[in-house]
């Protein structure tokens, strides 16, 4: 069992000053599994992702990667353990070209020098695979459209050889067609069996479409954990809205 679990998070807690973003989160990601993480805006989903990828340090709690307990010191450290991330904020460098962004911090090199030619070629290939049309991969990302930017960020993580992929709303700005192609890509990764994925998304149809399991984050903790085969879009929506109604009437009193 420990063999099979790609990632385990136990009783993680995170405060920002007086604000408790996560009070007690435990979750588990099996090897080769795609886990959907849903929740209201501001529920703490991105915070959780940033803890798992080493960007934030948790105030309490433990993490296990492939059964080994780890204390992440930095994003770089997490990457060395095979954890790669698409951030909601994309983490693009506006001043760099599309292909440099796509290979940021895992640049291809010949000797000490960058292998720009190879990076350009691969960047073009990846974008074509994703159905995203970017006329010139040497252009600065600052000039791209919202969806094009997101495609670059997604490509950066998806085409790395990560074993654990954390995707924070990877489809938010993607067009209908591009979104479908990216979901296909994720299914391909899953089919290869050695990559485990956590996806955050607000579009429940997409979640159910690609995920094996879905977790709901509420009040700083996971309140719902079910296989996707056991739930429907309407059930998920009902879950979220029910909570909202309860809170509304509660605070109205």
């Amino acid at each position: 069992m420990a063999e099979e679990t790609a990632l385990r998070v136990e009783h993680v807690r995170k405060q920002f000053g007086a604000l408790t973003a996560l009070s007690d989160v435990s979750l588990r990601l099996e090897k080769g599994e795609v886990l959907g993480l849903i929740g209201d805006n501001g529920a703490g989903k991105s915070t959780l992702i940033k803890i798992i990828c080493g960007y934030h340090q948790p105030d309490a709690g433990r993490m296990f990667v492939a059964g080994q307990e780890v204390v992440l010191r930095s994003v770089d450290h997490a990457r060395s353990l095979g954890i790669d991330t698409v951030y909601q904020g994309l983490a693009l460098i506006n001043e760099l070209s599309v292909y440099h962004n796509m290979f940021l911090n895992r640049e291809l090199r010949v000797g000490p020098l960058l292998n720009n030619r190879a990076m350009r070629r691969l960047a073009r290939e990846h974008l074509t695979d994703m159905g995203v049309n970017i006329p010139d991969v040497s252009a600065e990302v600052a000039k791209l459209s919202g969806g094009q930017r997101q495609a670059v960020a997604v490509a950066r993580a998806v085409y790395s050889d990560a074993r654990i992929l954390l995707l924070d709303e990877p489809l938010a700005a993607m067009g209908a067609k591009e979104g479908v192609l990216i979901l296909d890509l994720i299914r391909d990764l899953k089919a290869r069996g050695d990559v485990s994925v956590i996806i955050i998304a607000h579009n429940y149809a997409q979640v159910l479409d690609v995920c094996d399991r879905v977790n709901l984050l509420q009040h700083g903790t996971i309140t719902f954990d079910r296989r996707t085969s056991e739930v429907t879009v309407d059930e998920l929506t009902e879950l979220v809205v029910a909570e909202y109604r309860r809170r509304r009437t509660g605070s109205g009193s």
Binding site: C53, Y55, S74, V75, D76, A78, R79, T85, Y87, G89, L90, A91, L92, I93, N94, E95, L96, H100, L104, N105, E107, R109, P112, L113, L114, N116, R120, R124, N133, P135, D136, V137, S138, R156
Partner: protein, 347 residues
């Protein structure tokens, strides 16, 4: 949406000048200029040379070119370090005192402690690098803004320099005279040679290596770069060290050239501000994330040309500033105009 010039939109470099009605050679030249971001500064530098040569025909003589080279080199060398720092989002005011301190370190080591010349040089560079490391450490780990941190370091080092040297110039150590002095600045084109080698090297570092890419990333989007796993502090500290060592080199070259180890080399903060100005004239953004080493060289060249040209013409002290200021304003307005032309005219 599609690119005008190619239906597939997949051409790596759109040939921006298709459809122009120019002769092929001119067109080619135009394309190069259009692509090359330092083009506008280069044009300004050339236009300036033409103007000065027309007003005073000794401007382009061998002797005077050497003059210009000697005035350009130290500013450009310091500017290279400043560009790296500015690009990574920091600044260092203490480089100028490091420049003054380094030749004194050589002098102390050789004349007071009997260290041979080559180890003395190494020692001076190692100490300079350590100063850069301290700057970087205070800025990144202790979170003091770099302007204040390096201002503190500036005063500190100035104090060290003035107390140890008693604010009095020293002579080049006998052991260093001769070939070493020639190589390190005294020979006619020595400082220019150093300068060009350094500019070339760091141009490649900034544009063609991971270090350069990460430097740009850290300065362009610190949070994003950290999220992408770049170790921002390492990059920044490294650039502080590079800037310090280059400052030390510039100071040693200057001391050996003027044949006197003077506490006033670098003129306090003057050298740093010349270097910052050169960097900004060359197209480096004060806000970080963008800059060019070659541009900084051209910026230093422009400043040296202005100083030299108006001196050749023989403008006297008080109106000199007036004319220098006007020339800076006019040439920089022209520069911006040219570079806007470049951007709208092409890729």
């Amino acid at each position: 949406m599609q690119a005008t010039e190619s239906s597939s939109g997949q051409n790596e470099a759109p040939t921006a000048d298709r459809g122009r009605r120019l002769l092929p050679v001119l067109r080619r030249f135009g394309t190069v200029l259009v692509r090359w971001r330092e083009a506008s500064v280069l044009i300004v530098a050339i236009a300036m040379a033409v103007y000065f040569q027309a007003s005073k025909d000794v401007f382009l003589t061998h002797d005077n070119l050497r003059n210009i080279a000697q005035a350009t080199a130290p500013a450009a060398i310091v500017a290279v370090g400043i560009v790296l720092l500015l690009v990574s989002g920091e600044i260092d005011l203490s480089v100028g005192v490091v420049a003054a301190l380094a030749p004194f370190l050589v002098h102390y080591a050789v004349d007071l402690y009997g260290v041979p010349v080559v180890p003395a040089f190494l020692l001076a560079f190692v100490i300079s690098a350590a100063i850069g490391f301290c700057n970087g450490f205070i800025v990144t780990k202790l979170r003091v803004p770099s302007l204040v941190a390096t201002l503190g370091m500036y005063y500190f080092l100035l104090g060290v320099l003035l107390t140890t040297s008693h604010a009095y110039p020293a002579q080049i150590p006998e052991e260093a005279q001769g070939r070493i002095q020639q190589i390190f600045g005294a020979a006619d084109w020595a400082s220019l040679t150093w300068c060009l080698a350094i500019v070339l090297f760091f141009h490649i570092v900034l544009t063609r290596t991971r270090w350069g890419l990460h430097t740009i990333s850290v300065g362009g989007n610190l949070i994003g770069a950290t999220e992408a796993g770049i170790r921002a502090n390492r990059i920044k500290i490294g650039n502080f060290m590079i800037a310090s060592v280059l400052g030390a080199l510039a100071g040693i070259l200057e001391a050996f050239r003027i044949n006197s180890i003077d506490p006033n080399i670098g003129g306090g903060t003057a050298l740093v501000f010349t270097a910052i100005s050169a960097a900004v004239i060359g197209g480096t953004a004060l806000a970080g994330g963008s800059g060019t080493v070659i541009g900084a060289l051209l910026g230093a060249l422009i400043l040296a040309e202005l100083q030299n040209g108006f001196n050749l013409i023989g403008i006297s002290a008080n109106p000199f500033n007036l004319i220098l200021g006007s020339a800076i304003l006019i040439s920089m307005i022209a520069n911006q105009y040219l570079s806007r032309l470049r951007r709208t005219g092409g890729a």
